[in-house]
Amino acid sequence: MNPTVSAIPGFTGYVMVKLGNDLAYVGRKVRMIQLTSAKVFHMSTDSTVSSAGSQTTPIVKLTDVNKHYGPLHVLQNINLEVTKGEVVVVLGPSGSGKSTLCRTINRLETIDTGSIQIDGEVLPEEGKALANLRADVGMVFQSFNLFAHKSILENVTLGPIKVKGMKKAEATTLAISLLERVGVANQKDKLPAQLSGGQQQRVAIARALAMKPKVMLFDEPTSALDPEMINEVLDTMIGLAKEGMTMIVVTHEMGFARKAADRVIFMADGQIVEQATPEQFFTNPQSARAKDFLGKLITN
C-alpha cells in the first residue's frame, strides 16, 4: 500500500489513517491525513509545510561543501538535501568522510567553503545562535557520550532545562515519557556506567529527542555495541523513522538500510559517489567503488 500514497508530491511525514481509535501506519513521506469520513481526506494545517504541489524547504541542505584536514581533502564538493521525514543512510568504506560529514552538519567540525542550512537557516559561525541551531540537530555518537556524572534522568533533562528554559517538573515528565519510549525508564536513577551499551545508546537517543530536533544524526550508533544489543537500538531507530523523524544515519547495518532508508548515499574518498533507493543500490550499484564495497560486505 505504500507506493501509491507516497507518490503524492509535496507531502512529507506519514499517512496516518484513522481506524476507530487506532492510528495505522500506512506509508512514509506523506503528511498526516485524517480519514474523517468514507472518502474525504482533511490535510493537517501544519504551517511549516507548504501547500500541496509546491516544493518544501529541505531540513538539511549542504551546498558545495569542502573541508580539508591539512593536505587531506576530506569533504569534496558535497551537495546534499534531506527533506522532512526522509531517512538517509550513509554508507562507505572507513575513512571516506562519513563521520566528518555528520559532524559538520551540527558544526562540531567547521567547513572551509560552501554552506550548510538547517531548515532554511545557514549554520551560524558561533555563539548563542549556533547553540540554538544545534539544539535543532540531534546527534547520536558511536561512543554514546552520556554525561558520566549525571543520572540517566538528568542526562535527558539537562538540555530542555538549560537550553530551552523548561521547568524542571515539565522536563522530568518529558524525559520519563521519552525514556519509556526507548524502554529504559526503569533505569532513570542510575548512572550511565551502570547500564549496558544498548541501554546507554537508547538513553542517548532519548537525550537527543528531548530537544525536539528537526533532524537526527546517527554516527555508527551500533558499532560499539555487543552483537546482542544491536537490534534493540536499531528497533528504536526504526520506530523513530516510522514516526516521521528526519534522519541521517551512518551505519554498516545493511538490514537497517534496507528496512528504514528512503535513500542510500555512498561515499568514497570524501565524495558522494552514488545515491539511490536501498533497493536500487543493493541490487544494482552503478559505480565500481560501490560494487567493490558491496562485494566485500558479502564475502565478510
Binding site: 551540527n106 562540531l108 558561533e126 555563539g127 548563542k128 549556533l130 547553540a131 540554538n132 544545534r134 539544539a135 540537530v137 540531534g138 546527534m139 555518537f141 561512543s143 557520550n145 552520556l146 554525561f147 558520566a148 556524572h149 539537562l158 538540555g159 538549560k162 537550553v163 548512572l191 550511565p192 556506567a193 551502570q194 542517548a204 537525550r207 537527543a208 528531548a210 530537544m211
Partner: protein
C-alpha cells in the same frame, strides 16, 4: 623536659598554627575561585582569554612566592598605600592571603586543567550537540567531572599552600608559626632541636590528614566510565 613544656605557656604555639590554618583557608578559597576562572579562560575558545590564562600561569608559577608577598607589603602597601583593611594587623593578614591566593591560583589552574584532560572529548561534544554554549557546558558537564578528576593534584596544591603559608612571615604576619618559631629560637638557644621538632611535627600533623583525605575523596568521587 620542664623547660620544654614551659615553652607552651610562654608562647602560644597552637594560636600560631591557627593563624596558618586561617591564612590557608582564605587563600585556598581565593586560589580555587581564581584558579577555576583561569582554567576556564585557558580552555575557552576565545583566543585572548586563553592567552591571558597561559601568560598568568607562566609568569606567576615561575615567580618565587617570597617575591610576590614582599611586593604586596613593600610596593602595594608601603609605596602605594594600598590597604585591604583599616586594622593594621588585619591588613597584613589580608595582603598575605591575597598574595598566597594569586600565587596558588596558577597551580590550581593547572590542577584543574589536568582534570579537564581526564574528561573524554566526547563529553564536550555531546554537551555542544544538545545546544549548550561554552559556559553552561563548562559548568554542567566539563568542570564537575574535571574537579573529580583533579582531587589529588588539588590536594597537593593545598598541602603546598599550608606549608607556604609560613612565607607570610615576610609580609609581616607576625604571629604565624614560622614567626613564632623565629622568636623562640632567638630566646631559647638551648632548646633549638625540640623547638624545630615541635613545628615540624605540627605541620606533619596538619598535612598528613589532608593527603589521606584527598586520596579517599578522589576514589569516592571518581567518575565511573
Amino acid at each position: 623536659m620542664e623547660k620544654y613544656l614551659s615553652l607552651f605557656t610562654e608562647y602560644n604555639i597552637p594560636a600560631a598554627f591557627w593563624v596558618n590554618i586561617q591564612l590557608t583557608f582564605w587563600a585556598a578559597i581565593g586560589a580555587l575561585v581564581l584558579g577555576t576562572v583561569l582554567a576556564m579562560m585557558r580552555i575557552s575558545p576565545v583566543r585572548s582569554f586563553a592567552a591571558f590564562g597561559t601568560g598568568y600561569v607562566n609568569i606567576i608559577r615561575n615567580t618565587p612566592l617570597t617575591i610576590i608577598l614582599l611586593f604586596g607589603v613593600l610596593a602595594l602597601y608601603n609605596q602605594l598605600g594600598f590597604t585591604l583593611s583599616s586594622d593594621f594587623d588585619q591588613n597584613f593578614f589580608n595582603l598575605a592571603v591575597m598574595g598566597l591566593a594569586i600565587y596558588h591560583a596558577a597551580f590550581v589552574c593547572e590542577a584543574i586543567r589536568s582534570g579537564v584532560n581526564t574528561v573524554p572529548v566526547g563529553q564536550a561534544e555531546a554537551a555542544r550537540a544538545i545546544g549548550l554554549s561554552f559556559f553552561p557546558a563548562a559548568r554542567e558537564v566539563i568542570l564537575p567531572q574535571a574537579f573529580r578528576g583533579s582531587v589529588v593534584p588539588l590536594g597537593n596544591v593545598l598541602i603546598a599552600l599550608i606549608k607556604n603559608s609560613t612565607v607570610a612571615a615576610v609580609s609581616s604576619v607576625a604571629i604565624e608559626a614560622s614567626s613564632v618559631m623565629k622568636q623562640m629560637l632567638e630566646f631559647e638557644s638551648n632548646l633549638i632541636i625540640p623547638i624545630f621538632a615541635t613545628f615540624a611535627i605540627g605541620f606533619v600533623i596538619i598535612v598528613i590528614p589532608v593527603g589521606v583525605l584527598t586520596t579517599w575523596l578522589s576514589k569516592k568521587l571518581a567518575v565511573a566510565r
